[in-house]
Symmetry: C2
Subunit: 234 residues, 2 copies
């Protein structure tokens, strides 16, 4: 009998934001896989490092730097084949996913290749969305609010169209697109009711008003939250 | 010195989907508050019941049934006053929030009344959004997808406008609005790529295609997920 493939959400970065369920499955899994830099560390592995045991087989999925934003399909083909051979041997494989596996995660590339052939279970995790809102003490949405999630990599005119008449928005994957998004929000009169959050839940966490962000290329894993009420909840 | 107000996300319902952090703070809190039915149980309390101790003071916030969808402001005024008196006495108060405190939660009503006066910390939780996607094994969003969260209580024409040309959507708070949303999605040709989820992560969890939902008034805490790819990830 084949092993079970787990998409294991381990939360946004603070090791304490893992769920009891993810922790139980992680510790029981004979094989763990995770995305990693081509030469160097894995952020996802780092979140759960203290729970791993030397008895577990580790499969790092090494994403080439230059392809980090549009991952090379060949890397995922190879990783899927390696994971498949473990599953075929009857071993469960837990894929460690930063945040939540189904919320803009790279797990999708493995899911698309493996979920048809192998039994798959997803353990939801605390996503970057709720982590950033908590870090900024900035409510996401309530009652009849419409909330839209927008990758900053979209063209400016698409972002503008999507932001019109919205109650709340989270603009993710900022990186080199930060200045474009900040200027757009300012032009739409939404800047004052927005917050910038980077490295939410980590020691390096920063929460700033947009005008305070001096850097034009903040980390890729940063986010802008907007709500029409701004801080008027208080 | 005043106590600290915690908005404590305890996840969507499965007690195992609480985070280590929420569990630690919950067990340390001298006072816990939670929403409850006027006469009867509290779903939020039920999630963490096995971790509570008789030494903790409990403040149930009893929401009148007829006001469940538009909570009576007076109830929250009273609850905020009761919590404030505990905070003023120097005791930390943990408000137990199903899912995540800032994702369409009733915690907002307390946050709006107390966060100005008292130091407040939010512990993010696994939201119903990622829990439903995991339950249905139905990815939410990836890469440059636009994802929109829509309360089903909005007028049909607003929903239609918001759903146009969207990659992915979650329509929450279905209840008596289910038939309206199902018919709209079918009319827009989105029904086949949608899934209905109720009671995600609980023993009573159900995942259905829209056409399989026989009930015209499913639970208020149910959700429809749409993605233009449907199951084409596999």
């Amino acid at each position: 009998m084949s092993g079970l493939l787990y998409g294991l959400g381990v939360g946004p970065g603070d090791p304490e934001l893992i769920t009891l369920k993810a922790l139980r499955i992680l510790r029981q899994a004979p094989v763990v896989a995770y995305p990693a830099l081509e030469k160097g560390k894995s952020f996802a592995r780092g979140i759960v490092a203290c729970w791993l045991s030397p008895a577990q087989l580790e499969i790092p999925i090494r994403i080439p730097m230059e392809a980090a934003r549009f991952p090379a399909q060949a890397v995922y083909d190879r990783a899927a084949a390696e994971i498949a051979s473990q599953l075929e041997a009857g071993r469960d494989v837990a894929v460690i996913c930063q945040g939540d596996p189904f919320f803009y995660g790279s797990f999708m590339y493995l899911f698309g290749r493996l979920a048809e052939r192998f039994a798959t279970a997803i353990v939801p995790g605390v996503s970057s969305l709720t982590a950033c809102a908590a870090a900024a003490c900035f409510p996401l949405a309530a009652r009849e609010d419409v909330l839209v999630i927008l990758p900053a990599t979209l063209p400016e005119e698409v972002l503008e169209c999507r932001l019109k008449e919205v109650d709340a928005a989270a603009i993710i994957k900022l990186g080199r697109n930060f200045a474009k998004v900040r200027d757009l929000l300012d032009r739409l009169g939404m800047g004052a009711n927005s917050r910038y959050v980077e490295h939410a839940t980590l020691g390096s966490e920063r929460v700033l008003k947009l005008a305070q962000v001096s850097d034009d290329e903040p980390p890729y894993f940063s986010m802008i939250l907007y709500h029409r009420r701004g801080e008027a909840w208080r």
